[in-house]
Amino acid sequence: MSLLEIDAINTYYGEAHVLFDISLHVEQNEVVALLGRNGAGKTTTLKTIMGVLAPQSGAIRVNGEPVQGLAPYQIARRGVQLVPEERRIIGALTVEENLELAALSAPQRWSLSRIYQIFPRLGERRKNHGNELSGGEQQMLAIARALIRDAKLILLDEPFEGLAPLIVRDLLKVCRLLADEGRTIIIVEQNVAAALSLAQRCYVLNNGHMVWEGTGAALKADPDIMQTHLGI
């Protein structure tokens, strides 16, 4: 049984039809990249999985259990965790409070010290408020919130966007660590090279349609797809 199975979902923003019969699956311990140009529907796909948007048709199953139509908090309690594009750190709470908030409803949580081992920078800044953090620190905290919940499936939406190369390198190292220890991840990233260095398989979206799927190696070997749908 797949950890995540999406079967022909259609998602709308009001009247606007954005996702058309999207299907995909993610197996346990797998890192999957979701690629596509700006506006292709990547974020919409992740939001639909998380329950932020409800699909109008189609099925989403987590460990075989249907979750479409459930509220985000119910889907989160099944082990799915979105790390949103805008990071959405709570600015009025300290780093530690942000982490404690994330851990509140988790059936199995990590200790703070385990988080600070992975992100020493967060340990140094644990008493700082969210709105005092740099972009890189905010991204670390956003990922740490998913980890402290011991999420079974992490949805990373452009984790490296707008960050300095040095910080991207550090974050990439953490992501690789998570991938190596078998954490299941869907990563959306404009930085295709970075995404492919983590992912075993990938999907390519275009205008809300799934246009390609296969291994990272096969994608790299297909300059046509790279050119038409990713602009590389």
Binding site: M50, V52, A71, P72, Y73, A76, R77, Q81, L82, P84, R88, I90, G91, A92, L93, E97, E100, L101, A102, L104, S105, A106, N131, R145, R149
Partner: protein, 291 residues
């Protein structure tokens, strides 16, 4: 002639009035911060608290019982309103929310008028509130001093709930970004019910303890509601310390202006608000929110 004695007395009056405004505004600001709803029925809840306390005191002669039952009645009404009505409006446009809470206020006020009539009533002070105390600078009614103490205790309790408990953590996060709290596995709707109930209860409690100071009538909530809006604009939406600062500023502004030019008290209050809006539009302690 403004004498020192008068000045001190008015300063103290402002403090007591301010403290009560803080208590009523606290519920209003936190409900608005988390639920995004401006509750125009908040003043009516304050009024119902005053009536509930009045009735309880009349029948039991115990002011403690009056405080407890007043708070409990309004908590219950708040919970019923949130479950039965308000929660259906969280996702609706602001004009719908304003209309429904405004309409609700009218309905609540008229129900009370139907039951108790329009004449104003007065709750007696509790026995432990009779007389005056020597504050050194002036003699001051004992009950008013006690009100100040009670409100301070309630605010400290509220502070501890907001800043030292898990529920408080959720509420503070929910003020800024309810969707992200939801994504982090927390059932925000259940927290919203609690927030609405507690906000209502604080208003009701303020109504009970203010009943011996002001007269109790069905329309007593309207001026308080307007003053509380000013408090929130001055202090900043959704902020604990904003409500405290805004309430005290509003109380003193009203009280001190009344001393020199009673007709201009409300005008000065709005002038103070306008001044804050110009120099700091988000209010003294305002935070950026994401809806």
């Amino acid at each position: 002639m403004v004498t020192w004695a008068l000045l001190w007395a008015q300063l103290f009056n402002g403090l007591v009035l301010g403290a009560l405004l803080v208590l009523v505004a606290m519920g209003l600001t936190i409900v608005f911060g988390t639920l995004g709803i401006v509750n125009f029925a908040h003043g009516a809840l304050y009024m119902i608290g005053a009536y509930a306390g009045y009735v309880a005191f009349l029948h039991t002669q115990s002011f403690i019982l009056a405080m407890v039952s007043g708070a409990a009645v309004v908590l219950l009404i708040g919970v019923i309103l949130e479950r039965g009505l308000i929660r259906h409006y969280y996702a609706r446009p602001p004009e719908d929310q304003i209309l429904v809470t405004f309409g609700l206020a009218i309905v609540l006020i008229e129900i009370v008028r139907l039951i108790f009539g329009g004449i104003s009533r007065r709750t007696d002070e509790p026995i432990w509130g009779n007389g005056v105390v020597n504050l050194g600078l002036l003699y001051y009614p004992r009950y008013q001093v006690e009100v100040l103490g009670i409100v301070t205790l309630v605010l400290i309790a509220l502070y501890l709930v907001l800043y030292r408990t898990k529920i408080g953590l959720i509420v503070r996060a929910g003020i800024e970004d309810p969707l992200m709290v939801n994504i982090l596995g927390i059932n925000v709707t259940r927290t919203f019910l609690l927030v609405f109930g507690l906000g209502a209860m604080a208003a009701g409690f303020a109504g009970v303890i203010n009943a011996p100071i002001v007269s109790v009538d069905p329309d007593m909530g309207a001026p308080i509601l307007i003053q509380c809006f000013v408090v929130i604009v001055i202090g900043g939406v959704g902020s604990f310390w904003g409500a405290v600062a805004g309430g005290l500023i509003a109380g003193e502004t009203l009280s001190l202006t009344t001393m020199v030019a009673p007709d201009y008290a409300q005008v000065m209050l709005f002038a103070a608000m306008a001044f804050i809006l110009i120099v700091r539009p988000q209010g003294l302690f305002g935070v950026k929110t994401r809806q």
